[in-house]
Symmetry: C2
Subunit: 192 residues, 2 copies
């Protein structure tokens, strides 16, 4: 294209517009394992350090971007695909995107890894009985009572990561310990 006759874009803005490497940090694990809890604090820490960061919590996103979707296998896959699409797009613009989503199937997570350049899989792990005892949203109780079908861990599988980039054991670690491990891991990933 030729000269558009415009010279409007001021240097200061351009200076700040340089790209940093974004990343997608994907917290996977059972409901009640602590994904949102850890992700929220990591989000605040990253912001405090001046990073561009975004938290996509699957529960929240189900009120907007994926509100048409239920919990069948294909709907769960579509849910993750949409969140993955948005996360990848944001990360391309230098955002450290934190995703908190059960993401129960291994194939889903492999698909994400293959499509997102800097994908960090963090397994937020607690035994089912611990998650069920915590039951922060009363969902396990409902699932056991037959009021919720296809609930991960009850009547829908959770396929544990075989080689996650980081493994947090929230039944043995404090929240602060899981957060610290995650922050260190992200920092190391950003430096490479």
């Amino acid at each position: 294209m030729g000269d558009t006759g415009t010279e409007p874009l001021t240097p200061p803005a351009v200076e700040h517009a340089k790209l940093v490497s974004g990343a997608v940090v994907w917290f996977t694990g059972l409901s009640g394992a602590g994904k949102s809890t850890v992700a929220k604090i990591v989000y605040q820490e990253l912001k405090k350090h001046g990073y561009r960061t975004e938290l996509l919590d699957a529960d929240a996103v189900r009120k907007s971007l994926t509100r048409d979707l239920g919990f069948s296998r294909s709907e769960r896959e579509e849910n993750i695909r949409r969140i993955g699409f948005v996360a990848e797009l944001l990360s391309r613009h230098g955002v450290i995107v934190l995703v908190a989503a059960i993401t129960p199937y291994r194939s889903m997570r492999e698909e994400l890894r293959s499509q997102i350049p800097r994908f960090i899989e963090i397994f937020i792990d607690a035994p089912l009985e611990v998650c069920e005892r915590r039951d922060p949203k009363g969902l396990y109780r409902k699932a056991r009572a037959g009021q919720l079908a296809q609930f991960t861990g009850i009547d829908d599988p959770y396929e544990s990561p075989l080689r996650p980039d980081l493994h947090c054991f929230t039944d043995k670690e404090t929240v602060d310990e899981s957060v610290a491990k995650t922050m260190t891991h992200i920092a190391e990933a950003l430096l490479t």
Copy 2:
């Protein structure tokens, strides 16, 4: 939260992570009016100037984020809502997001304006007969032949913007002229 024991985040990255004001530049108009043509060149120009920018073309997005949607009124609305969600999210991180989408209903565009802090509506305008003559994708021919239902301008309405932020007349202006007007408008909007 207490000290996580990490001091990992290097100053250079923080320096580049400062926010600039993003914007959502929404190109509305009939199929064949030139939305994608203008948006693509604006995208390249903005990149050339060092801006973080993203182009969301509704036709392309219908292959991923909105591939489940058809062309009924409610599906068109959902299509625009999802694109709007992603555009707003990106703009919040300093990206100038260009959206090329027919967006036929006024109420949709008003909804976007009410939800996106820096929303710029650009009406890419050409008379229906001009668009139909151009028919770059052969869609008008198909619609006239009854092979495409609910085609905007034929058997589905296009509600022209009453007060767009910018009005490009692609039947009277060259592409370069429309691009130049758009660039100037974006630049002015970014300075305010």
